[in-house]
């Protein structure tokens, strides 16, 4: 009967497009599925977070919108922030992790260079690994959908909701983007309100307008 275990694991790992056998709907099936879920959640908790001896590396980049701070773990970029002072940025990082928080231009050189190029108008897309382990599965889907909006284009919250298969979820999408831990690199500024209105931006609308102007898409926005 191991075929059922394989079915459950495949479902959880996303190996097969949903093929819920009737058994999965039975109490036994649901119990087993929950067991596997707990197992994988436990594994994630034990091995997915910051590993022993791991550190978070950060650095500041001068930019036309003021200083931009970046932070990365071994797994990838995990935070971009502006409107922060250095101490409060480092405090924020310390508040979220047991890892050491270390200033390191060397460990952040790649993203720093890409951001410089971006603000100089010489780069239209970023190529970095992202560490989204602290982000909920729903928010991750929203953020990854936002990364697929190219520079020079804007889409509506409703369109992102549709793309992730949650039509009617534009409010939740707005919320998820409002808490984007990696703005600019995950271009939530390219997501605007319906009817070509600019919508909101956690970093302030002035910055959203600046970023869109830099990308040449501000003209598409009504207000």
């Amino acid at each position: 009967m191991t075929i059922r275990d394989d079915e459950l694991i495949g479902k959880l790992l996303g190996d097969r497009p949903r093929s819920p056998g009737r058994w999965l709907g039975t109490p036994e099936g649901r119990t087993e599925l929950a067991g596997y879920r707990r197992t994988l959640a436990g594994l994630d908790r034990l091995y997915g977070g910051h590993l022993p001896g791991a550190a978070i590396y950060w650095c500041a980049v001068p930019a036309p919108i003021g200083r931009v701070f970046v932070a990365a773990s071994d797994a990838g970029l995990l935070r971009v922030s502006f409107r922060h002072r250095e101490e409060s940025f480092v405090d924020e990082l310390r508040g979220h992790t047991e890892a050491d928080v270390v200033r390191s231009p060397a460990r952040t050189a790649d993203i720093v260079e890409q951001l410089r190029d971006y603000f100089a108008g010489e780069r239209r897309r970023f190529d970095v690994r992202l560490d989204l382990r602290r982000v909920s599965p729903f928010q991750r889907r929203v953020l990854l959908a936002a990364t697929r909006v190219p520079a020079g284009e804007v889409v509506s919250y409703g369109e992102i909701a549709r793309r992730i298969g949650e039509p009617g979820g534009s409010r939740a999408v707005g919320q998820a983007l409002g808490h984007n831990p990696i703005p600019i690199v995950i271009p939530c500024h390219r997501v605007v309100a319906a009817g070509g209105r600019i919508g909101g931006y956690t970093g302030g609308l002035a910055i959203k307008r600046k970023l869109l102007r830099l990308e040449g898409s501000l003209a598409a926005i009504a207000g």
Binding site: E32, L40, G42, D44, L46, Y47, A54, D74, D127
Partner: protein, 172 residues
Amino acid sequence: MRPVPVSLAELTARHRDGIVGYLVRLLGDRQEAEDACQDAFLRAHRAFARLAPEANSRAWLYRIATRSGLNAARRRARRTARAADVDLDSLPAAAGLSPERREELLAIRRAVDRLPPRQRAALMLRQFEGFGYAEIAVALGGSEQGARANVYQAIKKLRATLGGARRRDAKR
């Protein structure tokens, strides 16, 4: 887009952090992982000339790292008896959880330590490095089907430690 990495230096710089993280998960010890990574990059240096330009360079590098990691695991198995039991307090991931959930995490952790190294490697590649089965097969050597079987076996074993599992799990 950046161009495809052309030099070994660029390749290792790009993947170093990922590989150390993978080896920590595989070996459960940061120092051993750093050593294994060093060893892997030396091997990569020797083998780089034979890497076909169109090959999947990430899978190639992880294959070398996996070999170094498995060697380290084998050496350790010879050196020490079974690893000492895990201390609850050494599990930061368990902080703030109910005692029941802490016990569960501990059981999973012990089960991970007992996994055959190849299964552990396959599991970590699938779960934390985002590898597909074809890439895992390259990293471990062997077939795609074998890679998948390794991942599934590992997960079943971890699942069986949780209790509430059906009897046949306990027999396995």
